[in-house]
Amino acid sequence: MEMTEADTGSVNYLNHDRSIKSWLLTLDHKRIGIMYLIAVSLAFLAGGILAMLVRVELMAPGETIMSADAYNQTFTLHAVLMIFAFIIPAVPAVMGNFVLPLQLGAKDVAFPKLNLASFYIYLIGVAVAMSALIVGRVDGGWTFYTPYSTSIGNGILFVSAGVFIMGFSSILTGLNFIVTVHKMRAPGLTWNRLPLFVWSIYSTAIVQVLATPVIGITVLLLFLEKTLQIGIFDPALGGDPVLFQHFFWFYSHPAVYIMILPAFGIISDLMGTFSRHQVSGYKFVALSSVAIAFLGFLVWGHHMFVSGQSAVSSIVFSLITYLIGIPTGVKVINWVSTMYKGSVQFKTPMLYAIAFLFTFSIGGFTGILLGVLAIDIHLHDTYFVVAHFHYVMMGGNVIAALGGLHYWWPKMTGKMYNEVLGKIAAGLVFVGFNITFFPQFIMGAKGMPRRYYDYLPEFQGYHLLSTYGSWILGAGLFLIAFYLLASLFKGKKAGLNPWGSLTLEWTHTTTPPHPHNFIETPIVTRGAYDFHLAKHLFEKEGSEMSEVVTSPK
């Protein structure tokens, strides 16, 4: 390979060309990842602010800061932003894009142009969905059950078009990653040596490819139901509203695994790295992701136990629902036992991994509780469900994503953030999160329905606590945003491998990475977590551990 200035080690993907155009038209997966990071962070911020408004409104029964109509639109928009614009793309599109090719030892994803296209498609989708705000009211929650959703104004047309477009972006990302994992692995990188993050992104991509087209056709039919009254879902025309729910959940349940599987991958990497130990049960952990991805398609009806669907299907869906707990449990237990006889270091990313084990398990166990037919009848559409899904989405995905963000931040930016602030913020997020959402379990079990603007006074204590918690949570998140941004300007320069990881993005390239990722295609000789085979690395000074000399020889 001809040596240019680009190989001197000081040149990296961030500074080799600084023009705006070189960013907007880049085909570099790393830059696309960064652009996604900015976009989804903004979506998260917007969704989070709406959530704060929801919480303030619920501090007291009756009107607190907004009218009923405003509230109903606020939580709907909160959910639409959080689900479609934030959590679905978040980990795959940000970290998957940035890290996956690096971990594979590839120069890029298989289809770089498609990758860029899917970013812009995503932006268009968000824009179209948000234009509903101007056109008319959209309420009723992110599930858009018919016939309510077709009885409201035309805003729904924009939201469904937007979701359709965002779905396209998600499909293209997933497709790209599947091919990349199959076709672009470096020599020596066998399936058994893949980092678990790769396995999880791979499983996620399978779900994205198989499930997302169905939400596409669902919102398309919704669109036609609204414009042409095609009568498939609308009971007034002889349609079946329960059928809409089937369509919706055929996508949206697998989608929850689009949300959580990448998080699993991050946690595996963090657990291995910060325990400096093989992830125990590697094969089980890897294959359980695939198992979850497939089983996830067979349980959607557990959202419909009181919808009037047949008892036969309820029973089948309930049974399979439990089965998902098993591969997930295999993972949880293996993460814990990774620490066994390891050497556990508590840097900020590891704090998130540990918090994740706590919060996600609560979310998971309450999911199992909801899967029990007789119990779900009582708990369905109460705050118990709200608490469940925030425990798995916020407490699962977002906490893991924060861990991953801290872990890869030095690699992405070349800067270290403030570790002390990092730990404080992690503490605030953990404590604030639990105070926000744990009370919701209790009030839900006591009968507090969800999507309620107003409520009976007996629930006020729980709501108050929840609102106070959300402030702590919000403070933690803003603190993170603050010190991460500050680190860009003031942060210490990051070393090659500050955490002592063994995956290729840390051991075989510069920090931040070279524009073409690797100067020489890496040749892999050991598994992603075979620390005992790489003892020599740890004899050197912590942050300079790298196997390849990255400056010209």
Binding site: A106, N176, I178, M184, V209, L210, P213, L228, I232
Partner: protein, 224 residues
Amino acid sequence: MAHEHSNHPAHLHHHFVSSEQQFDAAKMGMWLFLVTEILLFSGLFVAYTVYRVWHPEVFAQSAELLSWRMGGLNTIVLLASSFTVALGIHFAQKDNKKALVINLVLTFLLALTFLVVKYFEYSSKFEHGIFPGANFAPHGISHGVDYAAYNVPFAAQFFSIYFVMTGIHGFHVLVGMGLFTWITIRAIRGDFSSEYYTPVEICGLYWHLVDIIWIFLFPLLYLI
């Protein structure tokens, strides 16, 4: 296109190691895309199945209003176009540029024929007030068929499904025509050879899928 290696063929992108890898990747990507198409259509097949199981008589009766002759003709047309695409790839592999171009043009023309037939079918339906959804109001008599007699509950569902399915399918045909225009131009320009004909193969795969969907639509909507 920037080339770092002089031994890289022109079509090879820098992040691939070999043409073979690039070809395999493209093809695998296409198969994945086809799967998403299948699942997209599956929603409509589900809607069809559900309503058919609920109202078999209505569906059987409504199907009588669709012309199996036109549907059958279109089936043959699409099959022929699949055949010409397959021939096109064959000739691309054999470095026979002229035959490749001819087959691509034929495919395009067959796709056009399909849409023209479809146009006549649609307009003969609209004429008698057979519209998707709430506007469904069959009336009039032609060829001894009294359309009004078909205005029974759930017939509207059948025709909604018919229009949505064939409409989306027709949209795919349209996209296919665009693709073949592009491919034909490139073929005339001489972009393809036995070494590199990935775009032809990829578009071919897409086209075959469009054909397969029709293979199912035809009996389900027109015949049974």
